[in-house]
């Protein structure tokens, strides 16, 4: 079974600074996808960024980028120029590739606080 570990229950950053959220995972599969989701108090999960395991290039979406280290099974999220609207719970998630069931396996989350 796959597991996803987020070792930082809470992180705090000053507005306009950069913050990195950590995530490690464990899987025996070679084909899979990794995601970072944002969950504001409204509870709706919002996709921030995704990474295909077969791609060596790290994914980037505007101020959000990842550092994907496949051999180390590490998938960290970097948020540059932090904004007040970035404050939320952030969840790292794993999805298997190939055929069959493909539900997401989530970590426990990191609560990101943005200080003005």
């Amino acid at each position: 079974a796959q597991t996803v570990t987020q070792s930082q229950p809470e992180m705090s950053v000053q507005e306009a600074e950069t913050v990195t959220l950590s995530c490690t995972y464990d899987t025996s599969e070679s084909d899979y996808y990794l995601f970072w989701y944002k969950q504001p108090p409204s509870r709706q999960m919002i996709l921030v960024i995704r990474q295909e395991a077969y791609k060596q290039q790290n994914a980037t979406e505007n101020r959000f980028s990842v550092n994907f280290q496949k051999a180390a099974k590490s998938f960290s999220l970097k948020i540059s120029d932090s904004q007040l609207g970035d404050a939320a719970m952030y969840f790292c998630a794993y999805r298997p590739g190939g055929g069959g069931a493909d539900g997401l396996t989530f970590g426990k989350g990191t609560h990101l606080i943005i200080q003005p």
Partner: protein, 116 residues
């Protein structure tokens, strides 16, 4: 495009009572997921449907939980009888199809269940 709709938003019941949640996925989305999110944890997959067939229900407590998606569109999740530990947010998500490389799961705002 309308998002994933869930109702009710909140529900409070006494233990041993029954409760049902409803989900209407995004139009045309073949895959539907139900997740349980206990306070302070990441969501956990309960069941995955592909059209009206079950793909994965390995983590569904079948002695008290049931789910159906009769016409391959709307879905209901039922708990009978409820226990205190069922207090959680129940999230519904949908995607166009599973296993496609760039398939994104879209989440509803969830139903917060409190069992007293």
């Amino acid at each position: 495009e309308a998002g994933v709709a869930q109702s009710p938003r909140y529900k409070i019941i006494e233990k041993r009572q029954s409760v049902a949640f409803w989900c209407n996925p995004i139009s045309g989305h073949a895959t539907l997921y139900w997740y349980q999110q206990i306070l302070g944890q990441g969501p956990k997959l309960l069941i995955q449907f592909q059209n009206n067939g079950v793909v994965d229900d390995s983590q569904l407590p079948k002695d008290r939980f049931s789910a159906e998606r009769l016409k391959g569109v709307d879905s209901t999740l039922k708990i009978q009888p409820a226990k205190l530990e069922d207090s959680a947010v129940y999230l519904c998500a949908s995607s166009l199809e599973s296993r496609a490389a760039n398939t994104e799961a879209f989440f509803g705002q969830g139903t917060r269940l409190t069992v007293v």
